[in-house]
Symmetry: C2
Subunit: 563 residues, 2 copies
């Protein structure tokens, strides 16, 4: 069965122009012709419309959307996404190979193609306790899957520079399989960058300035311009839209939250923003299609041309990248901005069940969160507004009203409870800048090991919140004096929900609102901030199940500063 | 062990500029850094020199050079070639899978990397008798070899357009293995081109005009700009050096003769010519390196950048592309224009021996080349000067002085003797335009089936020449009245010599001179012309072991025109 998209203007990414042409598609998946075609089984009038190749997101963590691949596909397709390259780093840190297997199975046979790069850093750091350890030999069998395109963001660049065998083995194994190795080395420059790249690192998505990105391109890397829910690099990298740099870039989101996806879109939103910043939409489209394919060595996708896969968007306007209809693999999958029903094979029930019930903790009691009283300066995590970086606040704790918590001065307790192996390990510290006046919030989503993290105004509230997270099998929760104000259950690995994007977005909104009821200012995202308080690669002070981490020294440090 | 190439200017193919930088190389094969490096085990001063990535020839028939891969590598390396993509079409038409096996083995472990695409047209036509028939299932096992990059020039585009299963199976098998499919469809345009491309054809090397090449690029193909010994397409395609077209082209030779290689060079010669035509050498270098790699999906080669393979040329000058030294895989292989000795594993003796003794014919006698006398107009092959196209001369034969040969009017006899299966099949016809006044020439190199072809002034000379070719196991020969004037033995499959390029070039010169002694004008290359007289895809009249071929009708036709 053939479809003819007639009378539209076609974005030709090989010569960066719009061409008047009809496009003949075959529902077996291929574009049959671009030109003066008049006949087909179905003829669609596209007069006044733009036909664009569909978009590929070169780097995203599905877990950041909290959606299953199926639900994510429904949302992304509406925004013109034909493929994503996902890094299952989070679920692998919780469930190891079972996490990767689930992702592969749950994303098979979707109209939106889900490719993977394999997580390179499980665990992310020895200063934390993750649910799994993956070595090169664990990852190796997955390279035979054609949807596995390589090794994901090699964050451990110090390890690469030091020549650590475990990291290098993962890199060389990926290369030996003819796969790509994604980079992740913010601010690395000059000879250190050379040393990192000399191991075969294909690309980077952590560039934030033009000079940094320019150096990457000159040194042969692909630059992934990242514009997600948290990180916004497009504006800083807008110079990359100029020749010759534009030929070595692609567009990625890295992380996207449900509400942001629903309200602002996906890759389309990045191109839209570039247009607002004065750039040519065709260059953006080229980056998001042909060049994303080139970056990963994908053949026969990323363009509207005979023999290429029939992944075509019908846009109402080029400048607004306003997606009306979407054809994937030659078939209409989105009509008038609505995803059409499709048959999706349910993932293997075994692989799904392997991700259920992953919050392995004993019921916690308030006394689990006590700290010794000492008249010494304590290391307090100090939130810097708008950043994931934290400062260290050094001051004695005030034990006059409780166990060191000082709500009036916004010195709250933060705790991280090990949840993978029921070790009973609990890291307890203090945090400034969250603003809760009562109750507590807790979550099973805390980078990168995803233990249960909680911030609260009392040990009782913290214990209750942690126990609630355990009870719902993972998720976000806001509690006050023994009552649940709002919750967002994430039963799959404590990271993913099986709800639709709309439900998730509203649950997310509910817990955010509840945190405001508890006193958090509207200017911060307490759950997102809390999720990054365990990420001991972002300076300066963080906390894991093992205690406080001095990120700069990459060492555990005690609560109190003793001379 | 590291080498530092110091004080040179580096061709950066990512941003199309020259950069002052030192290049640090590791003899394990990789470029470690590009920048302000000062120390290494070996330091080479490259002041005043240009450092360029080495060149890749995206399409060549090794058989056209008549050299073994080993001898060819020695010549090409001196001209800066790091890799070739060879199509063993000719040897496969003689020896089938044994021909492919020999090529793979004889090219293993050379400093110059020899990649292959598998011959798609064995036999080339049903109107001829080749030594083998290769189906998709015969080619399939070779795709697991990492040096096999795809399926070679799909010349049978009429078969593709007609949907012939045997052709389509070969294409889909290559694509299923993630390999590329090379095109070969001169002059195909518009909807026919679309239909051809819709099967997944990656590129074409048969474009001769800019509009034709432009259409290919707009439709997503890579265009291989061909400049070889016989076909010269650079001048006609020089417009492709402009943006955006230049980003979708590479440079290839297709066929190169030993003398041409020695005297004029290889890919370097094409860039040099482009510069003479006013183009930027850096664009030519980019086409010949990074883009050749991209066309075939080769990762980590084709540029001077950290992590890329250490394939670097030291040029005396950019404009002359004057190659002084060559580093391949991080090691010096050419110094001051001289190839350094290298260890090359000899091919398996079995695979070599399988190509020996392939001229399977009974001793021929003059009477084998007689034709019946008829008073009717005969179809005579009429050479068009400077072309491989032939016209049909329709006139009665003059039997007054012999068996239809009329030396005075340059009507000579041409014969093709089946040599693969000793069938005794002999095609006999007449040819105008070769100009021999006495004797005969013969050769085991006749496209595409490579039977023994001879042109002569008498049946006795023809029979002697054919017998001499048989005796030497294949090759070129010029004879006169029972004496050999000159010969060029090609003992491997009747197509390849094991001599060095210099010896081959002088042998080739000797047989050419001898043909002139026999009367051939200096303006033609009689052995090359003769080699194409069996190629029944080039209009209009050709001859095979089965008789005369009307190419336009794709049918065998009798010598005489009967009403």
């Amino acid at each position: 069965m053939t479809t003819l998209l007639k009378n539209g203007k076609v974005v030709n990414v090989f010569i960066n122009t719009l061409q008047e042409a009809n496009v003949l598609l075959d529902d077996s998946g291929t574009i049959l012709g671009v030109g003066d075609y008049q006949e087909a089984d179905t003829i669609v009038d596209c007069a006044g419309k733009i036909l664009s190749p569909a978009f590929i997101d070169g780097h995203i963590h599905i877990e950041s959307t909290m959606m299953t691949p199926l639900e994510l596909a429904k949302v992304c397709m509406v925004h013109g996404t034909s493929a994503i390259v996902a890094d299952p780093h989070e679920i692998a840190n919780v469930a190891g190979l079972n996490g990767i297997r689930y992702m592969l199975e749950a994303s098979e046979f979707l109209p939106m193609k889900v490719y993977f790069t394999l997580p390179s850093c499980v665990p992310a750091t020895p200063l934390d306790e993750s649910g799994a350890t993956l070595l090169a030999r664990d990852l190796e069998p997955f390279y035979s899957n054609s949807r596995v395109l390589g090794l994901a963001e090699v964050m451990n660049y110090p390890g690469v520079l030091r020549g650590e065998p475990k990291v290098l083995e993962k890199i060389s194994s990926a290369l030996a399989h003819g796969k790509v190795v994604n980079g992740h080395a913010p601010l690395l420059r000059g000879k250190d960058l050379d040393a990192y790249l000399s191991k075969g690192i294909n690309d980077d998505h952590e560039c934030s300035t033009f000079p940094e990105a320019k150096e990457r391109i000159e040194k042969g890397q692909w630059v992934m311009i990242r514009e997600g829910t948290s990180a916004h690099n497009l504006e800083g990298l807008i110079g990359l839209f100029e020749e010759p740099y534009c030929y070595r870039c692609l567009l990625v989101t890295d992380d996207k939250h449900p509400k942001d996806l629903l309200e602002n879109g996906h890759i389309d939103a990045i191109i839209r923003k570039a247009v607002r910043l004065g750039e040519d939409p065709i260059i953006g489209i080229r980056m998001a299609s042909l060049q994303a394919a080139q970056c990963f060595g994908l053949k026969g996708v990323g363009a509207i041309a005979p023999g290429y896969q029939g992944d075509i968007l019908v846009l109402n306007s080029l400048e607004d990248v306003d997606v009306k209809d979407v054809y994937l693999h030659g078939r209409l999958v989105v009509k008038d901005k609505q995803a059409l029903p499709f048959f999706a094979r349910r993932e293997n029930e075994w692989s799904r069940r392997a991700l259920m019930d992953t919050i392995h903790i004993e019921k916690t009691r308030p006394e689990d969160f006590l700290v010794p009283k000492r008249p010494l300066p304590a290391r307090i995590i100090d939130i810097i507004p708008g950043e994931l970086l934290t400062n260290v606040l050094l001051q004695p704790l005030d034990f006059s009203k409780g166990n060191g918590i000082d709500v009036k001065n916004d010195i709250l307790k933060v705790a991280v409870v090990e949840r993978h192996r029921k070790t009973g390990h609990v890291g307890v510290g203090f945090i400034h800048g969250i603003g809760l006046k009562r109750g507590a919030i807790a979550s099973s989503c805390s980078h990168d090991s995803h233990n249960v993290v909680a911030i609260g105004t009392s040990e009782r509230d913290i214990a209750f919140a942690v126990n609630c997270v355990k009870k719902m099998g993972g998720g976000f929760i806001a509690v006050d004096s023994g009552h649940v104000l709002a919750e967002l259950p994430l039963p799959l690995g404590g990271l993913l929900s099986e709800e639709k994007a709309e439900v998730l977005a509203s649950q997310n909104e509910a817990v955010r609102k509840a945190s405001q009821v508890l006193g958090a200012p509207k200017t911060i995202e307490p759950f997102m901030l809390m999720a990054f308080m365990s990420l001991s690669v972002i300076p300066h002070l963080k906390i894991t199940t093992l205690g406080l981490v001095d990120v700069d020294r990459q060492a555990l440090v005690p609560l109190y500063v003793e001379d």
